[in-house]
Each structure stands twice: as structure tokens, then as C-alpha cells.
Symmetry: C2
Subunit: 345 residues, 2 copies
């Protein structure tokens, strides 16, 4: 019997528990718990005494036990459609940086742009009772949306803004972004402006819609100028689609690409075909990756504040967890058109 109990208590690999600390410090377990979580509620003297024992024993609270007892895991679930896409990598970096000294942990889920994966991951996240959820985009499936609404924790939708947030939202209008970039190309004197887009997720669709709006406004829209694919975007895909675009509309004089990888691919393809940028062909990208500035020629792009989106989404989540709902549930971070050589005719 005794051995049984011993074996049992060794389950945790002999790590010290809160009871060990309490015993050694000569206080109750709950006081140790408070000293760690709400230091203000424990007298300075006792607190020091307890912290000394914590240090001495190398006590680390068991997150699982804590989560079970408080019905709340110190975890923020984050759902992104891709991890290799530079844009989301930056968002995620912002999220990690924004967390900084917080005791919370983030858990990333990769949906691969699939809404059923999103639902599954949401369910897994919810089974931990996360402190908050951050999800990408505003096009959740009805099931996913209902899961989010019943999540019983702060929810931040990121990257886009729309009329009906589940809870909070931070991002920018991809439609306006697409429109702004296209208008710039028109003002720069280009007329046969192609749209080149891969992956074509909802955000790219809205960029395309913005492009179309600007083109129609100027009476320049032509179906044949649009070349898209649902295949993943990449630099080589940019080259490939540019070739396709040229085949469909040989007289095109500019390309608005749905992201910078595609733009770079188009730029390389122009080099290869001996088409001069910006004189023969103007090129504009989307997101303004770091490399666009040093490309040769440098490439015009629409700068998006994706690191900032990550950082601020976490800040919003942390504030909401602490009970401070933001004044504005929807934050529009906008964008900035960075004009460079590739569109200077």
C-alpha cells in the first residue's frame, strides 16, 4: 500500500509541488498559490519567504493542474492559413513579441487554407479552454463562427476588417488596397494592366475586386487581363503566371500581382524575356516585403502592417482577458503605397 502511494506520488517525476513549497515555507498551499499569481494579496515578508523556497526547490507550477483547477488554460490559440507564407510568419512573430513577459503561451494552428481544418483545430483549441483566440480572416464557415461565438473567451479576427466581428477585429481592407495599387498604375500612365494572382484565398479575391473596381472606373477593365490560379503562390508561380498573362494579353504594359513573391517572379520573367521594367512593363506587388526595396529595379508595393497586426492583436487579447474591452472593436491599420522604380515610367 505504502509503495503504491509512493509510486503514485512519483508520477510527476519527483518534481516539487506547491505542497512541498508550502510545507518548507511554513505556510498554507493557497498562500503559495497567491504569492505566485497575486503577489499584492500576500504580505511582503511572507512573499519573500515563499519566493526563497520556490527558488531553492526550483518549483515550477504545473500548468495542467492550474488549468484544470481554474477552468482556464494560459494559452492563446492562433489560427493561420500558412506558416511558410512570409506575411503570416511576420504576423506570428508580432504575436510572439507582443506576448513578451506575459505568462501566457501561444499555440499555433495551421489551417492550410482549409475551412474544415479550421473547424477541427478550433475544437482542439477549445478543449483546452484557451484564454483567447486569434483567427485569420473574416470568412469563417458557419460552424467555425458558431464555435467562436460560444468560445467563452476573447476572440480577435485578424488581417481583414468587415462589418460583423465575432468579437474584435484588426486588419485592413484588401479591396481598398487593390484599388489603391491599381489606381497608382493607371496614374503612372499604364493602360493594359494585368492582374496576376495565385492561391486566390478570400483576401486575394478582394484585392482582385479592388483592382476590377479601379479598372472599371477608368474604363480599362478587360477580362483577358486577369490571370489567376488556386495553386499556391511562389516566385516561380509569378514567372509562370506572367508568361500566361502575356499569352492571353500580349499587349499588356503592367502587372499588379497579388503579393510580392508573385511580383518578384514577374520581374525575373521580364528580365529573362528582355522586357524592360518599368519602361516596357510596370510591376506592382502587395505587402512590401523587405526585399522589394533592394530588388533591381526596386519594386512598387503596397505596404501592409502585418507585424503590427500580430502585436496589436495580442495586445487586444491581453487587454480583453484583463477585462478591458477596447473602445473600438474594429481596428483598421490601413496600408501605404510605396512607389519605387518598377512603376516609374
Amino acid at each position: 500500500m505504502t509503495t503504491g502511494v509512493k509510486a503514485r506520488s512519483r508520477r510527476g517525476g519527483g518534481r516539487p509541488t506547491i505542497a512541498d513549497v508550502a510545507l518548507k515555507a511554513g505556510v498554507g498551499a493557497i498562500t503559495v498559490s497567491r504569492a505566485l499569481r497575486e503577489p499584492d494579496r500576500v504580505s511582503l515578508e511572507l512573499r519573500r519567504q515563499i519566493m526563497a523556497v520556490v527558488e531553492e526547490l526550483g518549483y515550477v507550477p504545473d500548468r495542467n493542474a492550474r488549468a484544470l483547477a481554474s477552468a482556464r488554460a494560459d494559452v492563446i490559440g492562433v489560427l493561420v492559413p500558412s506558416l511558410t507564407n512570409n506575411v503570416f510568419a511576420e504576423v506570428v512573430r508580432g504575436i510572439y513579441d507582443g506576448l513578451d513577459q506575459s505568462h501566457l503561451q501561444v499555440q499555433i494552428g495551421n489551417t492550410h487554407y482549409a475551412c474544415n481544418a479550421e473547424e477541427d483545430l478550433l475544437r482542439i483549441f477549445l478543449s483546452q479552454r484557451p484564454s483567447a483566440l486569434i483567427v485569420s480572416g473574416i470568412d469563417q464557415s458557419p460552424v467555425a463562427r458558431s464555435l467562436l461565438e460560444r468560445a467563452n473567451c476573447p476572440v480577435v479576427q485578424i488581417m481583414e476588417i468587415g462589418p460583423e466581428p465575432v468579437d474584435m477585429m484588426i486588419g485592413f481592407s484588401h479591396h481598398e488596397g487593390g484599388k489603391a495599387a491599381t489606381r497608382h498604375l493607371i496614374e503612372a500612365g499604364y493602360r493594359r494592366i494585368a492582374f496576376i494572382g495565385a492561391r486566390m484565398d478570400p483576401r486575394s479575391q478582394r484585392r482582385l475586386a479592388g483592382y476590377r473596381a479601379a479598372m472599371e472606373e477608368a474604363g480599362l477593365f478587360d477580362e483577358r487581363l486577369v490571370t489567376t490560379t488556386i495553386r499556391p503562390s511562389s516566385v516561380s508561380m509569378g514567372s509562370e503566371l506572367f508568361r500566361e498573362a502575356i499569352a492571353r494579353a500580349p499587349a499588356l504594359d503592367a502587372a499588379f500581382c497579388n503579393n510580392d513573391d508573385m511580383a518578384l517572379g514577374a520581374l525575373f520573367e521580364c528580365h529573362r524575356q528582355g522586357r524592360a521594367v518599368p519602361s516596357d512593363i510596370g510591376i506592382a506587388g502587395f505587402n512590401d516585403l523587405e526585399m522589394m526595396e533592394v530588388a533591381c529595379p526596386s519594386v512598387t508595393s503596397l505596404r501592409t502592417h502585418r507585424y503590427e497586426i500580430g502585436r496589436r492583436s495580442i495586445a487586444m487579447a491581453l487587454a480583453a482577458i484583463a477585462g478591458h474591452r477596447p473602445a473600438e472593436a474594429i481596428v483598421d491599420l490601413g496600408f501605404e503605397l510605396i512607389v519605387r522604380e518598377s512603376t516609374k515610367r
Copy 2:
């Protein structure tokens, strides 16, 4: 009293528990638990009955309670030095893909190339009693190494290989990679071959050592050919360091860059300065990012199998969790030199 109990049991937001399922299915709670975790040990009939109730109630096991009771969280901790670095993004993608249908979750920690951050994150991970740990590199601090050794779970070190694994290892030799790329440049007829490297983490240091070995072997080594910085690597940093390298060694005829971003930056800088690649300057990168193939000219690079490293590291971890230690604790995935236009004199 009754209300107290009710309020208590509502902590979990009214979600069904295993007891609810057991009651409704007319079985013991432990049988439900088994039906979910070890279906083979429950008779088919009962299993079906239980699963029906699970579906009906929408029961999802509480991960925290499970972790507490079993002294093991269904979490694999992964430590990487960067999330925006394309290389690690691919590793992480491989890890997520390798997980696939497993019930385990991964938790990523970003060390920002700082070893104290690594120690802190390890401690946080360990406080959850992870099922396995995956860490980048082989240069852990003594403290981190000791934490890993006492982690009481499978540990996989990735990206590099070395003589003394904590447990298991999968990667390749950066020294040999650096040597192979440099030898290729020498064989291609280049003589004044610069090494250009940013960030200069331990892996880049080993690439540099490989470069140096190959250069000394050929009697071509010269301190002035080496230009490095500890600042983060990027395409623009590639341009900047290439300018610096030219200033230090005006007669250089090739550049081996410590990664492809740097190589791309060097390539753009050559364009800008009117230096022809590969005739005036040869350029070789490291990792073989997708874009190297479509660059103009296409860029020679040393392909590393980073996605594969991610996938197989997870496979090794899962196998070890299941009790199947691999025959070989150290897996060398090697590399592949992809020769392209940028080094064809």
C-alpha cells in the same frame, strides 16, 4: 449549499464531462475513457454505444484534466530560433504536416537566437510535461542541456548533427555543406571567392569553417575575403555586405553567401553595379529556396532538406513516444549542390 455545488460544476461552462457520457451510455467512466484512447480494449458493441453518446452530447475530453491525470500533456514542444526565417518556417511546416492525424499538438517557442530565451522556454515547456521536445541546433547552453537531459521525454535535436546527442538528432553537416559549395566555386574557376554572412549563428559559423577549409586546401584563403556581421540576415543585408566585401577585396570574383536571402541581395547588387553574373562575379547561396531557380540568372545553391527534417523529426518523436527507439540515434540527411547559371563561367 446546493447552489454552491451547481455554480461549481458550471465552472466548465456546462460542457459535458466524461461522467455525463458514462451515465447516458450506462457504463463506467473509465470505460468511456478507454473507448476513446484504447478502442481495442473495449468490446465493439459497447464502443459503438459510447461513441454514439459522445457524438450526441458533443463530448470533447478536457486536455488539461487528461494531462493532469496522466502526468503527460499531449504536447510536443518545438524550439526554433526564428519564425520569419524561411528555413525554419519550412521546418515547422514539416513538423505540422508530420503530425497530421496524431492527437498531439505542437507548441512552438521562438528563441530569437538567444540562449537565455531558450532556457526560459524550456522551463515553460517542461512545466507542462510535454510528450516530446524538438530543439534546434546542438549548441545548447549547459543549463539548457541539463534541462533536456532531465526532461524525461524523447528529445530530438534538429538541423545539425554532432557527436553527442542528448537523445536523437536529425540534420546535416553545415561544415561539409560550406566546403562543398566552396569547392564547386573553385572548380568552376573562381579564385578570389568571398564569404558573405549575416547573423552568424553557430550553423553559419560552421559553414564559414567549411568555406575556410576548402579555400585553405586550395591555397586560396585570405582573411580579407571574409565579410560577416551578427546583424540579422536579409536580402538588403546581402546587398550591403556585398558592397562591403567589394570594398575590402576589390578584385573578388565570386561570393559564397551564408544563405539564399544574402545571395539574392548580392545578385541584385551586382545588377545595380553593372557586374555580370556569372562572368564577372559568381554567386552561390545556401538552402536552395524555391526562388533561386527562377531568379535571373538562376542561382547556384546548396539544397538542404529542411521540410524533411521537420517531418522526420516528428516521426522520430512519435515513434519514441510509442516506445520504438530508432536504430540510429543520429540521422544525416545530407545536402545537394544545385549548380545553376550564377556559377557557370
